[in-house]
Symmetry: C2
Subunit: 209 residues, 2 copies
Amino acid sequence: MKNSTKSVAKPTLEMWFEFGSNYSYLSVMRIEELARKSGVSVVWKPFLLGPIFKYLGWDSSPFVLQSNKGKYMWRDMARQAEKYGLKFNQPSEFPRLATLPMRVAILGAEQPWIGAFCKNVMVQNWVDDLDINTTDMVLQALTGVVPNPGLIIDHAQSDVNKLRLREQTEEARNRGIFGGPTFFAGEEMFWGNDRLEDAIECARTVPVG
Amino acid sequence: MKNSTKSVAKPTLEMWFEFGSNYSYLSVMRIEELARKSGVSVVWKPFLLGPIFKYLGWDSSPFVLQSNKGKYMWRDMARQAEKYGLKFNQPSEFPRLATLPMRVAILGAEQPWIGAFCKNVMVQNWVDDLDINTTDMVLQALTGVVPNPGLIIDHAQSDVNKLRLREQTEEARNRGIFGGPTFFAGEEMFWGNDRLEDAIECARTVPVG
């Protein structure tokens, strides 16, 4: 029986996301299973939407600034969550600041626990209506996910890690990202949870470098 | 053999659309076959997007005002059209004014030729890159579709018909429409070509009044 020992690089898909972004919630909850089924590796790319919106000239989310669009979005979210079998409750605050959990996410982006942590934070925000930008909530989201949650938070709050999140947000802007979630399969950009399946299919066909 | 002579009302789905709206193109080309398969009747609701955008404080399409979003949209359109097996070429002018063909559309909204006419205009704009807001082009779009294209255009240009289009645009605004295409299944609103299938599914389950 032949058995190659060479490791074959898996195709990858970048997911640029924000804990405060409602459609990012749907993708964060769905991407791991979809990617696994297609043999695609997820590259987690946390970035802050606030500076992107400011760059576009907005002082908040378009869903806040455009009331009709916002009203529609909440109905759409409820229907979409139901379609995917996900729980959803409209948070009492929107968009929620997420600087602390986002710093943890960029610290752990290449760690095996990133998916579990991100899903925990998303459930706090979009199901349990909790203030995700607190040490208590981030500790809870890390509990059972990493051996030492307190140490992770300390590292996440280091100057060098704070800078990484700012730089990654700047990179998002430079790559033309204008909302979340955004996916990249190679240079092909896909915007929105509605394009997750297309993005994974595209990633499968992009040659691995 | 029993045979009921009572006519059973079919469920209906409203499609609010604009010839100048790129994602309306995808839905106009797709809706008739999808609705027929689901036993749903399409209610054609032409309206002008320009006044809606003005009401929102914009002097053009968001795809023009936000350059990154616009650049992305053209790539997305090419991919989406390919996915649906539709031809597509980025028009040399965007968004194209469509007042004249929109007036014809509202005149014929309840006529059996509405679908064929709308698809012809959409192909002129999104495949053949033609100026759809001219008598020549509208005549071509009506040729083979109605017995007397010239008469239809005359009626479309009547004051009472012009007023109907303005009133329907005002109704779009009052119903909270902020972009096209928008679908209504009863009071349930769905925005964008990405929601066409969900909207049809919803229409199937709305009780017919």
